[in-house]
């Protein structure tokens, strides 16, 4: 219960300043972030984020599970982009194994990953606008997000904790009308983005609350290990999907939106343009979707189909062995990074030659991005702290793990 005491203790440096506590139960801290502010009137003199309220020890839990049992845990780290976490983990394990994935599984992964990005950005846009006072956008965003969650439910049986990607491929074949439903969604979604932009981009109130607010230079962003739209909003042109492609991203054409100003509005513009680019990638994936299997041909690693289990003895044995004993991976270590909606999501997986990972470490993009908060907010107004927190798009589940 130590967190009930006001620690870390921040003492006012001068007579005229005072300490203001914000969170952990505050609607605009997006979860359980606690921020300690030293203020001089309305001006922020010092700011100190305090985290750890949502720490669940996932990294320790992973060490006690088989490799395939870790996949459902990864959903729960960043609960707004479960498929990105699934993807990063399975890519890391596949790299450890040296496993090749069939093209259809790769393309499906890219398509689902981009839908996840749209899903996550919609939650960000809605809550960010709500923090600053624009209620309508929130309702519109959640209307479209509902459609994506229905697609997730159709393909994996779950709305949020999908666990759809498995080591060696995908869990299930998509249902028959799935691609038509995605095509329908991709057809009307760009108009909806126009709708959000009509409400916000040219809106003078939105501009006053976001332009020139919470600035960060490119040098600061790199030095503070910021990534994703927080980095690109400061004018650094780097996106892992394009620059260090994984899972077949080199087959897709898309632009990486960047903005030079480094303020809240720049980060907003980066993410809104990313919504349009992502739906473009989804359309390309639909058009070029290859035929073929969705699982790699690796009998000791990938679970056999149910049909084969009922007719073939070997399939039944492999199924039994994978479930009860897992599969051993040759000793080694890999660091696999993917571009999550928030930035560089990295998994560092170490194998000691047994069926359980020796160590799984998640490089959380939000944890590094949160460090930029003091740079953005010092010297600004209290009201802008809320805008800054919204603009770095934090998810406390990922920060605290």
């Amino acid at each position: 219960m130590a967190h009930l005491s006001p620690t870390p203790v921040l003492e006012p440096a001068q007579d005229r300043t005072m300490i203001l506590n914000m969170g952990p139960q505050h609607p605009s801290t997006h979860g359980v972030l606690r921020v300690l502010l030293e203020i001089d009137g309305e001006t922020v003199v010092r700011i100190m984020p305090d985290i750890g309220f949502l720490h669940t020890g996932i990294e320790k839990t992973c060490e006690a599970k088989f490799y395939q049992q870790v996949v459902p845990l990864t959903d729960r780290i960043d609960y707004l982009c479960p498929m990105t976490n699934n993807l990063c983990y399975v890519l890391a394990v596949e790299k450890l194994l040296g496993l090749q994935i069939p093209p259809k599984a790769q393309w499906m992964r890219v398509m689902m990953n981009e839908l996840t990005r749209i899903n996550s950005h919609l939650v960000w846009l809605g809550t960010h606008a709500l923090d600053i006072g624009a209620m309508t956008v929130f309702l519109y965003c959640f209307r479209e997000r509902e459609e994506i969650l229905k697609l997730f439910e159709a393909i994996s049986g779950q709305r949020m904790m999908t666990s759809y990607f498995r080591i060696g491929g995908l869990a299930l074949e998509p249902p028959l009308d799935f691609f038509d439903r995605v095509r329908h969604f991709a057809g009307y979604f760009p108009d909806k983005v126009d709708e959000y932009e009509n409400l916000l981009t040219g809106n003078p109130i939105w501009g006053m609350r976001t332009k020139g607010v919470a600035r960060m230079t490119a040098e600061d962003a790199i030095a503070l290990s910021a990534s994703g739209p927080t980095l690109r909003g400061s004018g650094v042109d780097f996106d892992l999907r394009r620059d260090m492609p994984y899972s077949g991203y080199e087959n897709f054409k898309f632009k990486v939106p960047i903005a030079q100003e480094g303020d809240v509005f720049a980060r907003y513009m980066c993410r809104v343009r990313e919504l349009r680019e992502s739906i473009g990638i989804v359309k390309q994936a639909l058009e070029g979707m290859p035929e073929g299997p969705i699982k790699a041909d690796a009998p000791g690693v990938v679970l056999p189909d149910r049909e084969k289990m009922k007719t073939q003895m070997e399939a039944l044995i492999y199924h039994f062995k994978i479930i009860t004993e897992g599969f051993a991976i040759p000793p080694g270590e890999v660091y696999q990074a993917v571009e999550s909606p928030r930035g560089e999501m990295g998994y560092y997986v170490v194998s000691d030659g047994t069926a359980k990972p020796y160590r799984v470490h998640m490089r959380a993009a939000c944890l590094a991005n949160l460090q930029t908060l003091p740079t953005m907010c010092t010297g600004g107004l209290i009201a802008d702290v809320v805008a800054a927190i919204g603009s770095i798009d934090i998810v406390l589940g990922e920060i605290d793990r």
Partner: protein, 165 residues
């Protein structure tokens, strides 16, 4: 598809820009190398890590200007017990390299790299919190995720996964 074996011979890998830069600066700083699964690992002597990071950041040939991650491994009961791991990224060259520092259990302390990258602050605090590694020169080395009065360091291998300690 079988994995190619790991290369650990320094002679074969000394043309890698990061290795070459570190060897040119101080041959004693590089205590080992490994190239496995297309990832480069350089073992750096514990007393040289901060300067090695600053060198690689400022060197135009390698330009590892971005710190992706700092984490740790516990090889209990083997000695040296801990490995502190730095994942560096070059934004211009689009390359990664992994630096490792080996620490024994008697004095698990290493110089902080926060003076090279301020972004190492939270990463090092997390490693301190969960592994008990001391980073000398860190501006604010207190627990990050666990409560302040917590005893022990949960990610150490002699810390049980289940049950209350």
């Amino acid at each position: 598809m079988p994995l190619p074996p790991a290369i650990t011979d320094l002679e074969q890998l000394k043309s890698h820009p990061a290795v070459a830069r570190l060897l040119a600066w101080n041959p004693a700083a590089v205590t080992g190398v490994k190239f496995d699964r297309e990832e480069m690992t350089i073992y750096v002597d514990r007393s040289n890590i901060r300067e090695a990071c600053a060198l690689l950041r400022d060197d135009p040939a390698s330009a590892f200007n971005y710190l992706s991650d700092v984490t740790c491994l516990d090889w209990f009961p083997r000695e040296p017990r801990f490995e502190v791991i730095y994942h560096l990224l070059s934004i211009s060259k689009k390359e990664r390299v992994r630096l490792k520092v080996r620490l024994d259990s008697a004095s698990p302390a290493v110089e902080s790299v926060t003076s090279v990258w301020p972004g190492a602050n939270y990463f090092e605090r997390e490693v301190f919190d969960l592994f008990g590694i001391r980073f000398t020169g860190h501006p604010y080395l207190v627990r990050l995720l666990m409560p302040e009065d917590w005893e022990g360091h949960p990610l150490r291998k002699d810390y049980p996964v289940e049950g209350y300690r």
